[in-house]
């Protein structure tokens, strides 16, 4: 009885600890598994106890240097060992591991204890700060996304130029950075130039650099990004906006690996990989003579098209979850997810700004959310109005503005604001009020 009571006390203490804790016997079978360990791994204690620890944690260190084995072998406790485990959903979780040994009266080891802390939030912040993305940062399970994912091993391994096409916010730069980080050039710089945001002559100077006396700054020369990113990757965002002169110079870089800085006669050699992106179909610009065909063919050796979010709607819940984790780390919150009706609303919307727009929307909602779950009231008003307009347009064929259902829907979408609801229905506020009176509706009934 006393032993049982003691065990219950120990379990209660373990469950109160915020770190994951488990113990193993000498045959590596789990004997204790606390509540925090259940949360981090997504595996229930009942299922974990009695299993070998490697069957539960699927950690990178299981094979290359198990922390518990090291402790058992050396008799020393370990602190702050970095590792990655796979949780029940197959997500890779970074953890910090400590170990300790339990010895009997004779000093013989009988059990080993491992504690581990989920450090995902730290890793997320570090990735964001350093903009270092790996394939684990690409989120999606849809078919169009799967095609891109499937091509990554070859694209990363090759040294060919890559052309990424897709609308704004489809994640072109994220994919480019991921390819770079998975390539043999990952230790060298990834340099990005926005060809759209800068005037043509600045882009040219930025890319190729200039010699002393070539510009108003007569005293200094400036190395270009081609020099600075030597051995690495240069990413030209909005390549469709590149001037004809710069196109010719860039073609020479791609063909001969050579260029001359502005105002210089000295030929420079460069060893870089070029990736470029365009919001429009570059082949159409080639057809109408606005973009050089030879440069296009040199750039599009690997040609990836990133689909708009409305073509990969099934990825929306996964992306929302990913962004919530990101903003939890940024904002120090602990939001677990979204209400089912929010998912429904998000799936209805077309997201013209694609993943970028979805990310902004989730950031807004996370900032306002005061509970564990994002509800529709946390979504931006602008989003709700746009969605309501879409729903109304869709419903126009079925029902007119005097239809009770349409009125209820419009008021609900406008969050009870009669002016906005009237706008959605295409009628005046007074007319809406009159119709509501006739139908015996009040805003309270609808909300």
């Amino acid at each position: 009885m006393a032993a049982q009571s003691e065990k219950r006390t120990i379990n209660a203490i373990l469950d109160a600890v915020s770190e994951g804790v488990f113990t193993v016997d000498k045959s590596w079978r789990i004997t204790n598994f606390n509540r925090a360990a259940e949360i981090i791994t997504g595996i229930e204690a009942q299922a974990a106890i009695g299993k070998k620890c490697s069957e539960v944690f699927h950690a990178d260190i299981c094979e290359r240097g198990c922390a518990l084995r090291q402790s058992m072998d050396t008799g020393e406790n370990l602190h702050g060992v970095s590792a990655r485990i796979l949780n029940a959903k197959g997500q890779s979780i970074p953890v910090s591991v400590n170990t300790a040994l339990v010895k009997d009266r004779n000093g013989k080891t009988v059990n080993a204890i491992e504690t581990f802390t989920d450090i995902s939030h730290l890793e997320l912040l570090r990735h964001e700060m350093e903009q270092r993305y790996f394939f684990g940062d690409l989120v999606g399970k849809s078919k169009p996304f799967g095609k891109i994912l499937a091509s990554l091993p070859e694209v990363a391994q090759s040294d060919s130029s890559v052309l990424l096409e897709g609308a704004v916010g489809t994640g072109k730069e994220l994919v480019a950075r991921t390819i770079h980080n998975l390539s043999s050039r990952h230790k060298m710089p990834f340099v990005s130039i926005n060809c759209e945001a800068l005037p043509a002559n600045i882009v040219e100077a930025d890319l190729f650099g200039y010699a002393q006396g070539a510009t108003l700054d007569k005293k200094n020369h400036k190395p270009g990004k081609l020099t600075l990113s030597k051995g690495g990757t240069i990413y030209l965002d909005g390549i469709d906006k590149l001037s004809q002169t710069t196109q010719v110079k860039l073609l020479r870089v791609l063909q001969d690996r050579e260029y001359e800085p502005l105002g210089s006669t000295q030929t420079m050699r460069t060893d870089i990989r070029i990736m470029a992106s365009a919001r429009v179909k570059l082949s159409e610009l080639v057809t109408c003579g606005q973009f050089r065909d030879d440069l296009y063919f040199r750039l599009a050796v690997v040609h990836l098209f990133l689909p708009p979010l409305q073509e990969r709607r099934m990825d929306i819940p996964l992306l929302v979850k990913h962004f919530i984790q990101t903003f939890n780390a940024h904002l120090g919150k602990n939001i677990e997810g979204v209400e089912p009706d929010v998912t429904k609303l998000l799936m209805e919307y077309d997201f013209p700004g694609n993943i970028g727009e979805l990310r902004d929307l989730v950031e807004h909602a996370c900032t306002l959310c005061e509970t564990k779950s994002i509800s529709s009231k946390d979504l931006p008003t602008d989003f709700r109005l746009k969605l309501a307009r879409k729903m109304h347009r869709r419903g126009q064929g079925r029902a007119d503005s005097s239809h009770e259902g349409s009125i209820r829907e419009a008021i609900r979408q406008a969050d009870g604001h009669l002016g906005h609801a009237a706008q959605l229905l295409g009628i005046s506020r007074t007319t809406l009020w009159r119709k509501m009176k006739r139908l015996g509706l009040s805003t309270g009934d609808v909300k």
């Binding site: 299993k51 699927h58 094979e63 796979l86 029940a88 197959g90 990554l152 091993p153 391994q157």
Partner: protein, 114 residues
């Protein structure tokens, strides 16, 4: 048909993305006619995917598998039987008998062999 199994000693490796050895079995008429061990020093998960591509593997049988890697392999037309545990020889035998099923990540993989 070629079947790849990451190996950790006699058992299936706990994590495909970090396994150091992968055995590729060639099966014909429900018999193993050849098997080759590949040693991987790299910690890069994509190296394992490239190995499966180069060796024209049809099926991967493995322990833990990161969701994005699983998606990548399926998109490439590789059949994946993941989250299984146990001895490699037993797993390949179960596969040839058509009795090997996906394991469950929730620590129940041991009960999902057949």
């Amino acid at each position: 048909m070629k079947i790849a199994i990451p190996r950790f000693g006699e058992e299936v490796g706990p994590c495909f993305g970090h396994s150091a050895t992968i055995t590729i079995f060639t099966i014909r008429r429900k018999k193993v006619i050849d098997h080759v061990d590949f040693s991987l020093q790299s910690q890069e998960a994509l190296d394992r995917v490239r190995l499966l591509r180069d060796q024209q593997v049809d099926v991967l049988i493995c322990g833990g598998l990161q969701d994005v890697l699983e998606e990548m392999l399926r998109s490439r037309g590789i059949e994946v039987i993941s989250w299984v545990t146990g001895k490699v020889d037993e797993l390949i035998e179960l596969f040839m008998q058509g009795r090997l099923k996906h394991g469950v990540a929730k620590g129940e993989a041991g009960e999902n062999h057949g």
